[in-house]
């Protein structure tokens, strides 16, 4: 079970409270987690990554185990603690805007 923490605005959009729990059947990567998240909550499509290019939106960041993985390959395996669900995969809206 993968745990995902959404930023508050996306939690509201997806109508969820607290963490989201997902089953990812393939290798646990940013891409496979986001694919599953978007399949479960289709209203989130396009809000974290571009519909067509699948590139991360500039002011969205991905964190895991205290590390910023935003610039890692979306196909790189995520840390084992994420795959086991002991640590959450955290999606945040960057602090920006002044």
């Amino acid at each position: 079970m993968i745990r995902v923490v959404l930023p508050p605005h996306l939690r509201t959009l997806a109508r969820v409270d607290g963490d989201v729990e997902l089953d990812v059947n393939s290798c646990v990567t940013q891409r496979s987690v986001l694919d599953e998240l978007e399949a479960r909550y289709p209203m989130l499509r396009g809000t974290m990554r571009d519909h067509v290019t699948q590139l991360r939106r500039p002011l969205v960041r991905f964190f895991a185990c205290g590390e910023d993985l935003s610039h890692e390959s979306p196909d790189a395996p995520l840390p084992e603690a994420i795959a086991k669900g002991s640590e959450p995969f955290v999606i945040i809206g960057a602090i920006a805007g002044g």
Binding site: H9, E38, G46
Partner: protein
């Protein structure tokens, strides 16, 4: 007794204001989509309970919201729990997928170089006059999209953006937005759009091909003041009984056309400033029009710090200031292009919202004004529905 529903988009959410036909006591609901920029909210003339909203964020991009109960409940079309369970399979979640048709190409950038078309947000939603499932979207960077499935999916009417003049279009200070969509109530094939800063365009074949309609516009701030395109049109309005007559608030100048935009003439007349953003037409008097003069393009507040709506009962040139109930000193708000609307009661009600968060209403065609609310976030858009 008739009712009025005012749909307000602000920098930090949407609000729905309702009153009975007297328009004296208002109920305010919201914020809906708190914290998000709501560029526009508009109801279908076919089914007033069907309302579309453009919700946008610099972080999370574009969202389209839809209500089927007059603004009480909202959902992103095509991604509800009910649809997730449907035998048709997983919903695609494409209600916010605005992808330009083909290779997007380039337009002119601020420095004169060419710049790729990039979708940023939906500025304006215009529901069809004939089908509640059919809605148009004017977007930045300027293009026109339509949905025929209630906002679940969108297709570009790319004949507009692919017009020969497209590479000459350039963004105004607020971005290169398609902000005005007017549907001809007497001719399903005809519609008008306007872009800052490209100008106005008309289609006579349902959106397949487009013609610039800017003859008569004069803009001293561009290299050729009489160019075919490049004019910063802020807003165009039409009365449904006379769709060949158009009124335009340009960056500077209030203009009028009586030949479907083929030619324009200035009707600024005695306005204290002919800079401004919104323009609208009285619901029952096609020659009665309203503007809100703003001091200049670098000073976006009313002349003499007095908030005045100007009304012309002669289709332009002769204007009277409407001030009763509006602040007449120390007022430094702006009224944005989509932030004025009218109801269809008798007498006609006029409404506008300000960047200071006030929404003003006049139940008597502009003679007297009162704020419905005073302290909303900056108002981006105001639309009014007159309900039975």
């Amino acid at each position: 007794m008739s009712k009025v529903r005012v749909l307000v988009g602000t920098r930090k959410g949407a609000f729905v204001l309702t009153a009975d036909g007297a328009r004296k006591r208002w109920k305010v609901s919201g914020p809906h989509f708190a914290g998000w920029e709501i560029y526009h909210v508009k109801g279908s003339p076919v089914d007033p309970n069907r309302i579309y909203a453009s919700q946008t964020s610099g972080w999370f991009g574009q969202i389209i919201q839809r209500s089927d109960d007059g603004g009480k409940k909202w959902s992103t079309p095509g991604s509800s729990p009910e649809e997730l369970k449907s035998p048709d399979g997983m919903p695609k979640g494409e209600s916010n997928k605005f992808v330009y048709d083909g290779i997007p190409g380039t337009h002119q950038w601020y420095d004169g170089t060419q710049h790729p078309w990039e979708f940023k947000r939906v500025w304006h939603l215009e529901p069809s006059l004939h089908d509640a499932e059919h809605v148009y979207a004017g977007v930045e960077d300027a293009a026109l999209f339509e949905s025929k499935d209630g906002g679940k999916s969108w297709t570009e009417l790319s004949g507009l953006r692919k017009h020969d003049t497209g590479p000459k279009w350039q963004p105004g200070a607020g971005g290169m937005c398609l902000h005005t969509i007017l549907l001809d109530p007497q001719d399903r094939q005809r519609m008008y759009i306007a872009i800052s800063a490209a100008g106005a365009f008309r289609t006579d074949d349902g959106g397949t091909t487009w013609k610039p309609i800017n003859h008569g516009l004069h803009s001293q701030y561009i290299p050729d003041p009489n160019a075919e395109v490049g004019h910063c049109v802020h807003r165009v309005a039409m009365h449904r009984s006379r769709p060949n007559t158009l009124f335009m608030q340009k960056h500077w100048d209030v203009m009028r056309s009586d030949d479907s935009g083929d030619s324009w003439r200035e009707v600024s007349g005695n306005l204290p400033s002919d800079f401004g953003f919104p323009i609208d037409v009285h619901a029952h008097e096609p020659e009665t029009i309203y503007v809100v003069p703003i001091k200049s393009d670098s000073e976006h507040y009313p002349p003499s710090s007095r908030l005045r709506v100007y009304r012309s009962r002669t289709g332009g040139n002769e204007w009277e200031a409407l001030t009763k109930g509006l602040p007449q000193r120390n007022c430094y708000v702006n009224v944005l292009r989509d932030a004025m609307s009218v109801d269809s009661l008798d007498p006609c009600g006029i409404y506008f919202g300000t960047t200071g968060g006030q929404v003003y209403a006049s139940p008597d065609a502009g003679d007297n004004w009162k704020p419905i609310v005073r302290d909303l976030p900056a108002v981006l858009s105001v639309e009014v529905q007159t309900l039975p």
